[in-house]
Symmetry: C2
Subunit: 372 residues, 2 copies
């Protein structure tokens, strides 16, 4: 592996998204990335920083987050440079968030390579992660938009997949292959086919590219969005111009995920490379995922999250997330999901984990927004 930190490389951490499927643990004012979901004692955001800072250098990690989370983000990452905190006045999806970071960094450091990594994923085996990123950066230097795809370990239906083609023969990126296409979350039958074929990787939303290449791709699919991002970037580093530019432009930017604005069209155009990652990875999308992550793979155990948890379990399995000091007693209840917070309690099962989002919608509709 090349020496770290990598030259001319910036990491971008888009820290947005509430994680509705993890309600009431994840809230508007305490989103998923601000939680410790593995019992490690570290929030997901901080763990992401700890993974990335050695790759780019601590002065070259940028966080894009909502204004409301500024204080929490800075408390989690005291080393984060002021100029590397990009605050959104309102969420406008990942193309605007990552595109703005790309535009600002390209404006400051023409020719820079950026890597975007979600703030709220869980990754094991950091050396393998870093090795994959180093290869992806080398693919980016060769002009590709590179992603790191995760080698599937099961026929997951909760993730998108990357259909992998032939090796690209890039110098110092020996395992980089062509991306044939991105595919949406499959059904179980299709997921099994993907797993057995060996031709599919999980899409972990990691994108590594020259900022200029990423912006060019955004411009191809969304020229007005690109124009707005470039205008914002040009105004960004002058305190006199940033505020007015944000107020005028940000609310007009199209809301679109980077998967649609960049990844799919770039794959179709043959510009996308993928480096297989052999480390464990999870986007912790719901409580079923959280349960699995914390149960060490044993389906019969009860996982417990929470520093002050006082759980008494008799013949029960699943997960208890305790944010209160209350005694929690479970008797004879299987695959349960219990999230105990000071103002809201969720009781469901792993099988119903995907339906948590609908509860959040119902609470919004019934005006119980104070618990969202």
């Amino acid at each position: 592996m090349s020496a770290l930190p990598i030259d001319d490389f910036y990491c971008v951490i888009p820290a947005g998204g509430v994680g509705s499927r993890l309600w009431p643990l994840s809230r508007a004012d305490a989103p998923k990335f601000l939680h410790d979901l593995t019992g490690s004692g570290t929030t997901l955001l901080r763990a992401t920083w700890d993974r990335l800072a050695p790759l780019a250098g601590p002065q070259r990690v940028m966080v894009v987050t909502g204004r409301a989370h500024r204080a929490a983000v800075e408390a989690q990452i005291p080393a984060l440079a002021d100029e590397n905190v990009v605050l959104e006045s309102e969420p406008r999806d990942s193309t605007a968030a990552i595109g703005l970071a790309a535009a600002i960094l390209e404006h400051r450091h023409p020719g820079v390579i950026i890597g975007s990594f979600a703030a709220d994923h869980v990754i094991g085996n950091i050396p393998l992660f870093r090795a994959a990123v180093v290869e992806a950066v080398n693919a980016a230097r060769a002009g590709y938009i590179a992603t790191v795809g995760i080698t599937p370990t099961e026929p997951a239906v909760g993730f998108g997949y990357i259909h992998v083609g032939t090796p690209l023969g890039i110098d110092d990126a020996a395992s980089a292959k062509q991306v044939l296409s991105f595919v949406e979350k499959p059904d179980l039958k299709t997921a099994r086919k993907y797993l057995h074929s060996g031709d599919y990787l999980w899409n972990a939303s990691m994108f590594i590219a020259k900022a200029s290449v990423l912006l060019e791709e955004i411009g191809r699919s969304n020229p007005e969005l690109l124009a707005g991002l470039l205008e914002l970037a040009a105004a960004w580093d002058d305190p006199a111009t940033r505020g007015p530019a944000v107020d005028r432009i940000w609310p007009t930017l199209k809301k679109v995920a980077l998967d649609y604005s960049v990844a799919e069209p770039a794959a179709a155009a043959g510009k996308l490379a993928v480096v297989p990652g052999h480390f464990s990875w999870d986007d912790v999308g719901d409580f079923a995922s959280l349960t699995k992550l914390n149960s060490g793979g044993r389906a019969t155990d009860l996982a417990i999250l929470g520093e002050n948890a006082r759980v008494l379990s008799d013949a029960s399995s699943g997960i208890v997330v305790s944010q209160t000091g209350r005694v929690i007693s479970l008797i004879g209840i299987q695959n349960v999901v219990i999230v105990d917070t000071p103002d809201a309690l969720l009781v469901t099962t792993s099988e119903n984990a995907q339906r948590v989002k609908s509860v959040v919608e119902a609470l919004r509709l019934t005006g119980s927004t104070e618990v969202l």
Copy 2:
């Protein structure tokens, strides 16, 4: 029916027992009888008083309870006469509690008839209840120890049964029959046999007898216990003698249930009469019972208990008892029992309702006594 109140008749309400199977709703400092378990707005104790006061007259209802519950009991029943509050320094089971009341009342009013009724049962159709008690009082006047047995509506395994014999032909107690025996909680097969035979009634722990007859029966099985009760009763109404007598005698009294000390031997001796009660009755022994009681018989519904309950249920059934103002969300969970209190949370299923008691034991053993 004779005119109410009934002459020479006192009601006794033993208000003891924590109701461990209803933890964490029922606690040492807030036992079952101090709760509203039906959403009626009335505690079980108050509802018991409301049923009994017209039968005996409000000046002739005695409550036997623990010292710790004196204030709560008096708050529930402001009309309760001071002389009718009998405080136990520590619980010594039902023979001591009811026997002491019988001894005090016999000492004050020789020849009195007493009826003992649990403080924490739920009864429907009060006119039918009162009619049964009136018949039982008439059987007691004829010298019997009378009980009111409940006509079973299902093969319940959580109740004891009374094996009924032939009619006794007592004046003004036309439906009173001989009790052949008391039988313990049966298994399901036996319970079905009992139900179909028509010869069995549920034992609702209601005993109506001349106080002197009841005391005599206690003395037959437990002469030392009777001697202690008589000594206590003789000392009771003099403030100078009550305290020392209680301190000296009460802790020495044998702990034995009235079913064993009186009901079973009296039945064996042919002294026990039973009047069938055709009203609905439940001892609310556990959360399965509580669920049934509050679901109106519909097994697919979610019953909710708690004045300030904020429950959002999606395809769930069972019961939620809410003592906090927290939002409680349930998704796709069946026959669940959730009890949400400020310092303890229970999550189980109806099928495991009987095991709640073991949790209480475990909490005691692990030193978490502050939530018991």
